[in-house]
Symmetry: C2
Subunit: 666 residues, 2 copies
Amino acid sequence: MKNYADLWVGYGERKANRDCEHLKKIRLSGAPESDCIVKNAVKELKNGMKAMLDAEPEIVFGEAAAPVAVTDGKSLRESEEYRITICDDALSLEARSGAGILYASFDLLRTVACERDVRKAYAEGKTVRPSNPLRMLNHWDNMDGSIERGYSGESFFYVDNEIVIDERTRDYARMIAAVGINAVVINNVNVKQAASLMITDRYFDKLAELGRIFAEYGIRLFLSLNYASSIEIGGLDSADPLDENVIAWWKEKMAEVFGKIPTLAGFLVKADSEGRPGPFTYGRTQADGANMLADIVKEYGGIIIWRCFVYNCRQDWRDRKTDRARAGYDNFMPMDGDYHDNVILQIKNGPMDFQIREPVSPLLGGLRRTNQMLEVQIAQEYTGHQIDVCYLIPEFKEILGFKTYCSESRDTVADIVSGETFGSRYSGIAAVTNTGNDFNWTGNYLAGANLFGFGRLSFDTELSAEQIAEEFVRMTISQDDEVVRTIVGILLPSREIYEKYTSPLGIGWMVTPATHYGCSVDGYEYDRWGTYHRADHLGIGVDRSDKGTGYALQYNEPNASIYNSPEKCPDELVLFFHHLPYTHKLHSGKTVIQHIYDTHFEGLEEARKLAETWDALKGKVDDAIFDNVRERFERQLFNAREWCDQVNSYFFRKSAIPDEKGRQIW
Amino acid sequence: MKNYADLWVGYGERKANRDCEHLKKIRLSGAPESDCIVKNAVKELKNGMKAMLDAEPEIVFGEAAAPVAVTDGKSLRESEEYRITICDDALSLEARSGAGILYASFDLLRTVACERDVRKAYAEGKTVRPSNPLRMLNHWDNMDGSIERGYSGESFFYVDNEIVIDERTRDYARMIAAVGINAVVINNVNVKQAASLMITDRYFDKLAELGRIFAEYGIRLFLSLNYASSIEIGGLDSADPLDENVIAWWKEKMAEVFGKIPTLAGFLVKADSEGRPGPFTYGRTQADGANMLADIVKEYGGIIIWRCFVYNCRQDWRDRKTDRARAGYDNFMPMDGDYHDNVILQIKNGPMDFQIREPVSPLLGGLRRTNQMLEVQIAQEYTGHQIDVCYLIPEFKEILGFKTYCSESRDTVADIVSGETFGSRYSGIAAVTNTGNDFNWTGNYLAGANLFGFGRLSFDTELSAEQIAEEFVRMTISQDDEVVRTIVGILLPSREIYEKYTSPLGIGWMVTPATHYGCSVDGYEYDRWGTYHRADHLGIGVDRSDKGTGYALQYNEPNASIYNSPEKCPDELVLFFHHLPYTHKLHSGKTVIQHIYDTHFEGLEEARKLAETWDALKGKVDDAIFDNVRERFERQLFNAREWCDQVNSYFFRKSAIPDEKGRQIW
């Protein structure tokens, strides 16, 4: 008995497609039978068809095509593209790499698992090219086994400072490859203590083995790097990127590391951020730091992914001029074009930090001559800790669809990170992952939809949130149409509901300091993190217009003008951009204060309804899943009530404006 | 070189009294030369006189008196009484026990250390009887070496779950005996994990040795007891105090424990409090629990000290009827008279939890037929973490001097806990101590004045806060009059200054949750701890009058009427008892809101002056002491500024009432 669930690679019995003659023979073309990834694809196909349909398709091999030389994101996408067609004698899966074959195989398996008609699905042929070159998970796992912002147990990569490789490791690779992930960072971006030793002899053998396992599922291994390694493990007294000794040390170190871990694809670096060391310490730019490392790893085909989460985390709350939201743009825009072509800047979706509602970072659409990657967070740090159900794919869809006006066409975030807008050499999308060693991997079973969904969406940004949710439910919970409809009906509005009972109108925060779960309206208001709501007796919000911090002007037009104006700014972001009286009328026709009251009462009530809806599924879904989600809903309702009552009480006590509907405020 | 300071038992060189002929011969009468405590007294006298005055007094022994049979608090005090007189041929120290001789010796040594004239000090004879039978320190040391609410390093009793006995242990005993402490609880009242094993074979030898060392300085050893020991180490499934099996288990256990630790004086128990187990679990009363244990330890002369800190720590903040302040009285008054005569109820000074300002607990003066002990806290949990200087003796003086109106005369708290008001069998005063293994024992060197002062005051409640402060400075820092005046001038107003820049008018709390250091006005406002300020746009405070929770009526008259009336209630407690508009006029003539602004600006400014005053001592006091206190003052000023600005901003933003003086509010 495994100590973890199989989720969408479990392949339970299915009814549909049992009589499908096209499944008798499957032809794989374009990649050699000897390819390790192809071998895994064959294994998945055989096991999956057997388990789901009790079928034993004949697997035959067509011609191998000329392999694509992968030298950049564009060629990577080409190599991963696949085509599925129905031929006279077989179902044909074609690609130009083992990875393409693997993705085609998972496409077919998904079609069967979702009980879609294979004939219809592929009748006209189906060609899929991944939307993004890099589709990445960032694990914030520490080597002692803890996970920063982890809400589903401990790390399955590390136990007591040792790397663990077992059956779960392989199933993890299968599971994420099945949804299209092709890159993983296995250690926390906050590289502390033991993790600094990851690039030493102590861990090379295990890392090489891990990298090989990943590679056989088309997954690239990345490591988070301690920028100050030359000091911490090198014994130098500097980490200055222009210091000859530092450069020499890194050259030797990288030769060793890439020699020992042949599959290593590169590094993720959090520098000059929240206490982490970086080039600023030495009066150098972020580009100096990133380029130094990039130049050294270039000969090994390595990539340096450099996080843009650089801001002053020691702000004085009295200071209303400094604006954390501005920091990313202010720190990184001036060097647009200076980053070398194997550097990627990894940009959080919003300018703050994964709040339930933020505007899109103006770096996305600002930077034009720099490789860019979008970073989202499926670990529910600010969105309910995998206690509260919060299906994030609708949010990611909004972000990807955001028009940045950075060019005449192809100007959405999705376009930019696909690499197409600016012809970036590398690009993609990364998620801080929500996994741990809990039996179901993600704490709340329904949080699995975010892991599944992130992979699916990063592979194909055209998919709808609903389609992804439905696939998740059909593949992992039930094929019963009514059950599917019910659970999709819980997932789809859950993010909006969470937003309603938590922080209103884009203001964000109001969370318990440090843990970030639960309400504390003033929790960060007088603190050093740059995260303020500035509420007083008359109004609330941060003036980021041209009359305030000027952050709104970091956007391209017309976004800048829209955000800059309290009248034009969309309601859901209006307090992010403007300090407004409680009596200000929103586009909805409601005042700010009445919006706060209404959404909080509604959000709580809607959360209650979600829980009731789930309750009605008893007996219709697996008991363990039912009980897991039910227990989480109980905690969610407690949390939702606290948010509702605390926020309403806080603003009533402060504004002295009563609820128009006379509901109970404490 | 010791790794700790000698504080007031260091005996540095002194100038005064060098020519005093009365110091040539010292006669000790009333206790035998062979008494271990007397031997320690002789050692102290010889070492002290030699070190301070380069003198070698002849120590002679007078007649031994009939020893006092100590059967209760009164006889204990008689036995500890001493008299110092000047005879023709010698200085005479008389007592009726070794402890009395020891205290007399320390009195003489203190006189010399403070450079008071020995002749004058004892010319008319000086007789001192301790004010309180039990004068106790409560250590909240955990067996892993950590200290709950410890701000001066780790435990010196425990390292890695082992008891440590070394030179520091002995010097600790000397140090606290020198200020009159005669009882110590060495482990945390929250008895968890390893500490439950304190009453097992694993620790008996060390405890016996520790008890013997303490006994030789007149100090009784107590242990904190896990009420659920019958389950945790006994293997029973119950801790029901009326269960025969439980009683039988305790009988056997106590026979073993008192057999193995002959000096053991009894136990301190925190039951049914903040998650600790207790008799309520079994539907029994606190008296049932305490009496069961007391009856069993009685034959060993043992005492059960039972804490009254029992309240609902899972309150709903929406609930305005439940009042944590009421809980002590409500839980313990109904059983007044039911507690057996070797039970002592230990009562925190206020009804909440060691805030900078609270009314005196109404149990003190409420209970009339129950042994009582006052509990104060010199660990600066809510009073600055031994970062901020906060000399607490003025507060303790106020508490001890509080008239409870429980009888015609002798009705102050001091009278009650001395045992005299009600002729209690046992009574006294305990402090949660502020010590740790820091070099100077207490973190901030000036926090040593609270350790020194608590001992001195518990021994003689007539001493003034100023006299105690001066003694502390003269004995441990300097004999220079100007330096003494300066430091006493820092200590004396420090508590009032701390109160000014923190929470106003008795409302308390407003602290960072969990750590309890630093400002967070709403930190506990929407939490489960029963600690609310209820501030809204119009006013602030908790209505504990007869129109509110009725807590004010728990006092004897006229206190009840005074506290019940917003007009009569003293300003400094008015928000503890009443919810008042910000515009309410205090006795001071100021409005509540202006009082908040004024005291906060003043408190910050006064703290700055204290720091400047300290700065001027550079070169005049030991550099290590100077640097230690200076560094703490830097952190205090940061803290004071945060408190000042956050509290003022919070109330300005909420009330919208500007400061009359137009000062900067953020």
